[in-house]
Symmetry: C2
Subunit: 238 residues, 2 copies
């Protein structure tokens, strides 16, 4: 089979949460051969890495690489330090300002590794599930940030220099959490496999109270669908 008839390869950043899992489903539905990339970066729980593994397997990723990077050596975030994860914030407060759960330069690090793998695979496409609406206030989820990375990618690599710059796909960037969930459900994605919580229990149950849980629960509620995720207790009204 000539190379032009083989499926195009894409690197898909996959955390195991709602957004990245939906992004993988979108890339697969678009016909890409998907190479899923997950990071174990010193977060306090492994539940989301296990979720990523289950989602990659279910969605037929051609390969799934889990990279260890130790951001704890830098500190600076509730997700990697021993600071408390904020709980029970009113929905209006989520997305105002940059939360303490912010991980410095996280998407820049993730996209840099995706760029490296894409170059090795001769893949021209990277998918990332960033979202500028329900985005919890992270600066590296904004469209202008993604555009700047795509420009950088065109200058950074052999492929870019030789005229095949990387395309960075952000299929969720303008969607609400409700729309993201509806899109995933339409593609047959089983959200029971996904984990969103910033602070899950040792058994992997979500807390239902951190910003990530509250945004997820509100999204499912607005979509009129029960969240199939496992929660520690009856979640508060999101």
């Amino acid at each position: 089979m000539p190379a032009s008839l083989s499926p195009q390869r894409a690197v898909v950043l996959l955390s195991g949460g709602v957004d990245s899992s939906t992004t993988l489903a979108v890339a697969r539905a678009a016909g890409y051969e998907c190479y899923a990339l997950t990071f174990r970066y010193g977060q306090r729980h492994a539940a989301e890495v296990e979720a990523a593994r289950a989602v990659a397997r279910r969605l037929d990723a051609a390969r799934h690489v889990i990279l260890d990077i130790d951001l704890r050596q830098f500190g600076g975030s509730a997700l990697t330090d021993d600071l408390a994860v904020p709980k029970d914030r009113p929905p209006a407060a989520i997305g105002q300002g940059i939360p303490v759960t912010y991980v410095p330069a996280r998407n820049t690090i993730f996209l840099a590794f995706a760029l490296a793998w894409a170059e090795v695979l001769s893949a021209g496409d990277v998918f990332i599930g960033v979202n500028a609406l329900d985005y919890s206030g992270y600066p590296d989820c904004r469209p202008e940030y993604i555009a700047a990375f795509q420009h950088l990618a065109g200058l950074a690599t052999r492929a870019g220099v030789e005229g095949q710059p990387l395309r960075i796909h952000t299929p969720l960037i303008k969607l609400t959490k409700r729309e993201i969930i509806e899109k995933g459900l339409a593609l047959g994605l089983d959200y029971a496999l996904t984990v969103s919580c910033y602070d899950p229990a040792p058994g992997g149950e979500a807390c239902g109270r951190c910003d990530a849980c509250r945004l997820r629960l509100r999204g499912f509620a607005e979509a009129g669908v029960a969240d199939p995720g496992r929660y520690l207790a009856h979640p508060v009204d999101a």
Copy 2:
């Protein structure tokens, strides 16, 4: 002492070779409190990491972090795969095209981690010893690449969003290897501590024949100074 009177912090990427060690000497001479960052990325030898450790200690780095990142999971380079390192290439051939020793997206990955650490440290400055003249043909050593990363950094982080974008310093970018060595010597840098070779012997001796060795030897020869590095055999005429 008010914060404004304490020395400014800078993150300095330090591989342990001539260029990055000179860059650390330049940053220190400019009065920065230097935070040195070295990567162990699956290269076949640890000699350059040990060199980085010695240089950071000698040049009074406030802290030296050595991060493990496993680029071997992606493959794609002579430095991380089992391909042969080119030897004895004529000087005119070095810098023509992109060599097989190219590591995909390496500087993008390194700068992404530097950006993360800078944000945690509230450091507004990053130093990287890229060089656009004797640069062995890497696309991510060019001035336009660095400018693109600086633009990205301004959009990627809390500091950038709040009006303190990162400055990326490339003090060597327009210097020849001879000028780099002369600058380091003028600052008192002991190049015996540094390791440049792509393929050192088990005892740490440089091969004298790879592109990195040949560029280094030529630089010392042009500066009229004996290279204090340890070589496996009498080096060929560079």
